[in-house]
């Protein structure tokens, strides 16, 4: 019955209630969109890094990450490949040779990472094959190279042109080879595109005189939530001679950013909640002051202070719950709709690309955003109703009834 009373009291001053609810709706919807957009953006950065090169888990010889030279090759390929085959949750993987080298055209030269890959395996792990914008991806033949369009511009070359690749070989001499540009790719990260070129694994192994050795295994897991577990299992299986790192270990800054955004959004919700507190205080105070005589009668006929308190709190809770629900509906609908089509930020694409974000951002909805809204907004409303509710309990029935 207290809820019924609270509910009807809300509609007693329809306009005032609608105003406060609208402000909650707008606040909540705005916060959810901002949240969705921000999370979508950093998540996209992370996904792009994972998708274009990093993958979920990388396996190297121990010491490789501190000293990225081809001397630090994987000690035992069979061991690694067996482990990958036997670990549950591993979806696919690729072998790589990766080294710093120089690519020269007739006009110019450019340093970068030369990555030797097996085209078929690699296309299941990363999206470079799908990012080819001119020409085609590697076919598996030696001496093909796929480079970023940015690098091609810098080198002043086009499809079919020849370039010389150079890098230091295993023995310490400089290995070099002639490559033909078969494709140009473009990812959302211009920084990445300037630095990475891809060629066949066997060609690289020849050029660097490293026989069948590989430097890196890039692993994709079925479910990204399991990445830490799988990395740990691989670490145990492979033992001391190897370094098994998840994308979380490989991109600590980005992962940290994703986490930090989550926390920043929590702050955003709290700030919005606090902004709304004043509206709630005002609304509830007016509502209490308008009903002083009524409270007097209620107390006179035996309503306890605690019940009076609960009645005012229930009113605030209902108001904010309705506002939150409607705001969430709008927010979720907005995020889902924009998440499906994406928000086109082509205007700022230049700037975004250097951050590794595409021109189209897909806002994302996270469980923690929804939870934050559901908990924080009604909670702050209750906080705001505290003072008016206490005010109501402080009334003396006799003076309240006489109050005009």
């Amino acid at each position: 019955m207290l809820l019924t009373i609270a509910w009807r009291n809300i509609w007693r001053n329809r306009r005032r209630s609608l105003i406060i609810m609208t402000s909650i709706v707008v606040g909540v919807a705005f916060a959810m969109l901002t949240d969705g957009l921000s999370i979508g953006m950093v998540q996209q950065m992370l996904d792009n890094q994972i998708g274009s090169h990093i993958s979920h888990i990388q396996i190297h010889a121990k010491g490789f990450n501190d000293n990225q030279v081809i001397q630090n090759a994987i000690p035992d390929r069979q061991l690694v490949e067996r482990a990958l085959g036997e670990t549950k949750g591993v979806q696919t993987w690729s072998r790589r040779v990766i080294t710093f080298g120089l690519l020269s055209s007739a006009l110019n030269s450019s340093g970068g990472l030369i990555v030797g890959v097996e085209p078929e395996r690699e296309s299941a792990v990363t999206s470079i094959a799908a990012s080819v914008v001119e020409g085609s991806y590697l076919s598996g033949k030696p001496n093909e190279v796929v480079i970023g369009r940015r690098m091609a511009e810098k080198l002043g070359i086009g499809l079919g042109d020849k370039v010389v690749g150079m890098a230091s070989a295993l023995g310490g001499d400089v290995g070099s080879d002639l490559f033909r540009v078969v494709g140009m790719y473009q990812t959302v990260s211009s920084e990445f595109d300037k630095k990475h070129m891809f060629t066949s694994l066997s060609g690289m192994q020849d050029m660097l005189e490293m026989e069948q050795r590989v430097l890196e295994y890039a692993v994709i897991v079925d479910n990204i939530e399991d990445v830490d577990r799988i990395a740990k299992e691989l670490r145990t299986t492979l033992g001391d001679g190897y370094e098994v790192l998840s994308y979380r270990d490989l991109m600590p800054m980005l992962v940290y950013m994703v986490d930090m955004y989550g926390q920043m959004m929590l702050v955003l919700y709290v700030v919005i909640g606090l902004a709304m507190i004043f509206g709630i205080i005002n609304t509830m105070l007016m509502s209490v002051f308008e009903r002083i005589q009524e409270f007097g009668v209620l107390m006179a006929i035996g309503m306890k202070n605690s019940a009076v308190f609960r009645m005012v709190m229930a009113e605030a809770l209902l108001l904010s719950a309705m506002g939150t629900a409607a705001g969430m509906l709008a927010g979720v609908a907005g995020v889902l709709a924009l998440g499906a089509v994406g928000i086109d930020l082509s205007l700022f694409a230049e700037g975004l690309n250097s951050f590794g974000v595409g021109a189209v951002i897909y806002p994302q909805l996270t469980a923690s955003s929804i939870l934050s809204v559901v908990v924080i907004i009604p909670l702050t409303a209750l906080l705001g109703a505290l003072y008016p509710a206490l005010k109501a309990t402080r009334l003396q029935p006799v003076t309240a009834i006489r109050y005009v």
């Binding site: 019955m1 009524e294 006179a300 035996g302 019940a307 009834i401």
Partner: protein, 229 residues
């Protein structure tokens, strides 16, 4: 049997620092089933006396015994419980909760007592029927006349079978015919159910119905007489 007893009750208000002696030494015993009118000119202390008897206001000095229990010593919540269970109130105006229907208003005190919905409904309907206002059951106060609202207020006051029903100038805002009807109703409840009513009024038609008339003047009892009709 005595339902309420006042011993040496004083009530002094402070009006911006100036003491106002609203009650000065009231000694009073009221028996169960009484139909008492407290009369007196405006400002004589009628409302104050009713409030003290109704545990709405604490005396500055003296003691109040409700069914032999000293209520001046109780906590705020205990006093609220006493008002809920032992006392019924009919105020001059603004008695009803505007967002509730007549039925719900009558049910309200029973709800506070924790009586379940089904029983509440039945009992509320019974009382509305007895007061002949069933047709108001689903109306909100703003859809009722002043007289109808006061009848619902009486229904709410008697629904829990309280020891005393206190009514502070219940007819003050009603025309004389409506007022008379309301008094008829309360008189009937007094006769048929032995309910104890204590009124304050300076309305002659209320005073005429008194079976005991207490005349207040300057916060003191000037006259206290039993009138058998």
């Amino acid at each position: 049997m005595e339902v309420i007893r006042l011993e040496g009750v004083h009530k002094t208000y402070s009006d911006n620092g100036v003491p106002v002696h609203a009650l000065r030494g009231i000694d009073l015993r009221i028996e169960k089933g009484a139909f008492v009118v407290i009369a007196g000119p405006s400002g004589s202390g009628k409302t104050t006396l009713l409030n003290v008897m109704g545990a709405l206001d604490a005396p500055t000095q003296g003691r109040v015994f409700l069914e032999s229990e000293d209520i001046s010593l109780k906590s705020k919540d205990a006093i609220a419980a006493i008002r809920l269970e032992k006392l019924g109130f009919v105020f001059q105006a603004y008695n009803l909760i505007p967002v509730l229907t007549a039925m719900e208003n009558v049910e309200f005190t029973m709800m506070l007592m924790g009586i379940d919905q089904q029983k509440r409904r039945e009992r509320a309907m019974e009382v509305l029927g007895e007061l002949d206002i069933e047709e108001l059951a689903n109306k909100r106060p703003n859809e009722m006349s002043g007289g109808q609202q006061q009848r619902v207020a009486v229904a709410r006051a008697i629904v829990t079978n309280p020891s005393i029903i206190l009514a502070d100038e219940p007819t003050a805002n009603l025309d004389s015919e409506t007022g008379a009807n309301l008094l008829d109703l309360m008189q009937r409840m007094n006769r048929e159910h032995g309910l104890t009513f204590i009124f304050s009024s300076h309305d002659q038609q209320v005073i005429e119905r008194a079976r005991r008339l207490i005349l207040l003047r300057d916060g003191m009892i000037e006259k206290d007489e039993i009138l058998e009709p």
